[in-house]
């Protein structure tokens, strides 16, 4: 895969946030979902954000990635010193240029083939059709879907759909990859394929992978595990990813 390979930046800070606060209004009361969270992530790392549901981990990712404006706090990501001070269009452009997203639901257009799904996003990055087709093919091959590029989502299994979503995110050569429960809708074997692909994106391409999950088996693949509960970070542990983690499927 071509493009901006950031393997050389490994270890450098890709993203840092200070004092993130986010409140949601429910009825007459405000619920504070994030209570002053500090966060940082480095190139080449897989950072796991773990916690029970309602702990604020998804909100944290939304605030870090420019999807949901925090009420207080500051996010610096790559060359953007203060992401949330940028105008809306610039934030869109930042995400287009630098961010890949993988969601729990696959969110693929039913009408498009795997290759078209990937190419659609590349088109908006002003990649020419020939180049887009080539990169889409390469991205799909890298996630092991080479023979299935012309299938529509209805003809793909859940794991294959998630791999298309990953290819869609990776084809852009993003420096930041956000994954929200990427394996929870998948069986053990498919989940393992997916987390290995994310691990590889961090190791080989130097992307900062931020993965929200409550699946403890994924810890084995992480460089760093952050536990979050009730909108606060409980602990932040650096670890060495296991060379041969136990399979997710039993």
């Amino acid at each position: 895969m071509s493009g901006n390979n950031n393997a050389h930046k490994r270890g450098e800070s890709a993203l840092s946030a200070k004092g993130l606060v986010k409140r949601f209004k429910t009825g007459r009361t405000f619920i504070e979902v994030l209570k002053g969270v500090d966060f940082d992530a480095r190139h080449g790392d897989v950072t796991m954000v773990m916690g029970p549901s309602g702990s604020g981990k998804s909100t944290l990712v939304a605030a870090l990635s420019g999807l949901l404006k925090p009420d207080e706090g500051h996010v610096a990501a790559l060359e953007a010193d203060d992401l949330w001070s940028l105008p809306k269009g610039k934030i869109d452009r930042f995400r287009l240029d630098h961010c890949g997203f993988i969601f729990q639901g696959f969110n693929l257009f039913p009408a498009l083939t795997a290759k078209q799904q990937v190419m659609t996003v590349l088109k908006y990055q002003d990649v020419g059709p020939g180049e887009a087709a080539r990169r889409a093919q390469a991205a799909l091959e890298s996630v092991g879907l080479g023979p299935r590029v012309n299938q529509r989502p209805s003809e793909l299994s859940g794991g294959e759909k998630q791999r298309v979503a990953i290819a869609r995110a990776l084809a852009k050569n993003p420096n930041l990859i956000f994954a929200d429960e990427p394996t929870s809708a998948l069986d053990g074997k498919s989940g393992e394929t997916v987390i290995k692909l994310l691990r590889a994106a961090a190791t080989e391409r130097g992307a900062a992978v931020i993965c929200v999950t409550h699946d403890p088996r994924l810890e084995a693949y992480a460089d760093r595990v952050i536990h979050i509960e009730d909108g606060r970070i409980l602990d932040d542990v650096r670890r060495t990813p296991e060379a041969n983690p136990a399979p997710l499927s039993h």
């Binding site: 869109d92 997203f101 639901g105 257009f109 039913p110 009408a111 498009l112 929200d180």
Partner: protein, 395 residues
């Protein structure tokens, strides 16, 4: 293939309601205009198929009927004076009461039926009819191109008339019957095809027959002039030269020009204009309402996919473009469907003896109209995209 087009083709069931709504909006307008223009064509069929290369009307007249289209008799030599003009003949016409004649047996039968309270034809009929003339000379400028020599021969006989087959039932006659026109006996000598007129039946007779009936123009004014010239290809040039010569006293038209002006004049007519305007408005309303709601629903169904594009950095403007493109394609498919429906309806109409005619300009206008409806609906549906909050995908 673009995302919009691929989605429309793959999820066509979702968009079916919009396409059908557009198709019927188009049909509503097309079928009505087609019918009115078809009726207008019925009025002027004899002129459209005339041998004349140029027609000369009074100044200001736009159509052969529905206005003072005649001119003073002294203009005939003025037109003749153009060196390329070969023949000039005024169109003449009249109108009056037409009655069929029943034999005593038919009369008795009809009375018996009436006594039993049955409905059905066969009785005495009285209708007002139009009369137009031809010169019963083969190849003459007033003779329609599709009249055979036998037909002309038959019309040359005194008091012989031609009736279109679509009018036979209405007038209660058949070929060879005798009938009464303005109190004088005439014979149905010829039955024509392709000259339907659903407003008023038309009799065609020779100029001499009209004269014998005492209704020919003999005064200072004559009807529109039919002109044939040496080289029909030069019709436009000769018409222009005649107009220069006329100096405002008459206007020369080529056949095509007059045919176009005729259908135009038809639409300018008050009642028809109001009816068409109203049904176009209704079509717009129905089309927009249904198409809008359908598009809304269809976009809502894919809102998560749109949200994932937003997350990946595709701007709101680009998503709006996708929706607008989608509605454009829905419009195009709607145009095709409207065309198909209208074709089917026109087949039905033709089978029922109602002439329909669709000028290309009209088809183009309706096509644009449908695409505008679709785009308008797409524009109204843009609000749904606000629901494509990528943050909602994170949960």
């Amino acid at each position: 293939m673009s995302l919009a087009l691929a989605t429309l083709l793959y999820e066509w069931r979702r968009y079916m309601a919009a396409v059908v709504a557009l198709a019927f909006s188009g049909l509503l307008v097309l079928a009505q205009v087609g019918m009115f223009v078809g009726i207008g064509k019925g009025f002027t069929a004899q002129i459209d198929r005339a041998r004349a290369d140029i027609m000369v009307l009074g100044p200001g007249a736009k159509a052969l009927f529905g206005g003072p289209s005649g001119l003073p008799r002294r203009m005939i030599p003025l037109v003749y004076s153009h060196p390329e003009v070969i023949q000039v003949a005024p169109l003449d016409g009249s109108g009056g009461r037409f009655q069929n004649i029943l034999s005593p047996e038919q009369q008795a039968k009809a009375e018996a039926r009436a006594k039993r309270g049955e409905k059905g034809g066969g009785g005495r009929k009285t209708e007002f009819v139009n009369v137009t003339v031809i010169d019963a000379i083969p190849g003459y400028v007033t003779v329609p191109t599709d009249y055979s020599n036998d037909m002309i021969e038959a019309l040359r006989r005194p008091y012989s008339v031609a009736i279109d087959q679509t009018a036979l039932k209405r007038l209660g006659v058949k070929k060879g019957d005798k009938a009464i026109y303005n109190g004088k006996t005439i014979t149905i000598g010829v039955v024509t095809t392709g000259y339907p007129n659903i407003i008023q039946p038309t009799l065609v007779m020779s100029r001499d027959t009209l004269r014998m009936l005492g209704e020919a123009d003999t005064g200072q004014r004559v009807g529109p002039l039919m002109v044939s010239i040496r080289d029909p290809a030069r019709a436009e040039i000769v018409a222009a030269q005649l107009n220069k010569k006329a100096d405002g006293k008459f206007r020369a038209w080529t056949r095509q020009e007059l045919a176009d002006a005729n259908s135009g004049a038809m639409l300018e007519d008050q009642i028809i204009g109001i009816m068409l305007g109203f049904s176009a408005f209704l079509g717009l309303l129905i089309g927009v309402a249904i198409t809008w709601q359908t598009l809304r629903g269809a976009i809502m169904a894919n809102i998560k996919e749109f949200a994932s594009l937003r997350a990946l950095g595709v701007s709101m403007g680009d998503l709006r473009n996708i929706v607008m493109e989608l509605s454009f394609w829905v419009g195009i498919v709607g145009v095709l469907a409207a065309g198909l429906l209208t074709w089917l309806v026109s087949l039905l109409a033709t089978a029922g003896g109602v002439p329909m005619y669709f000028p290309p300009v009209l088809i183009a206008i309706v096509a644009v109209f449908l695409v505008v409806i679709a785009m308008l609906s797409g524009f109204l549906s843009l609000g749904v995209l606000k629901n494509s909050q990528p943050a909602d995908l994170l949960r």
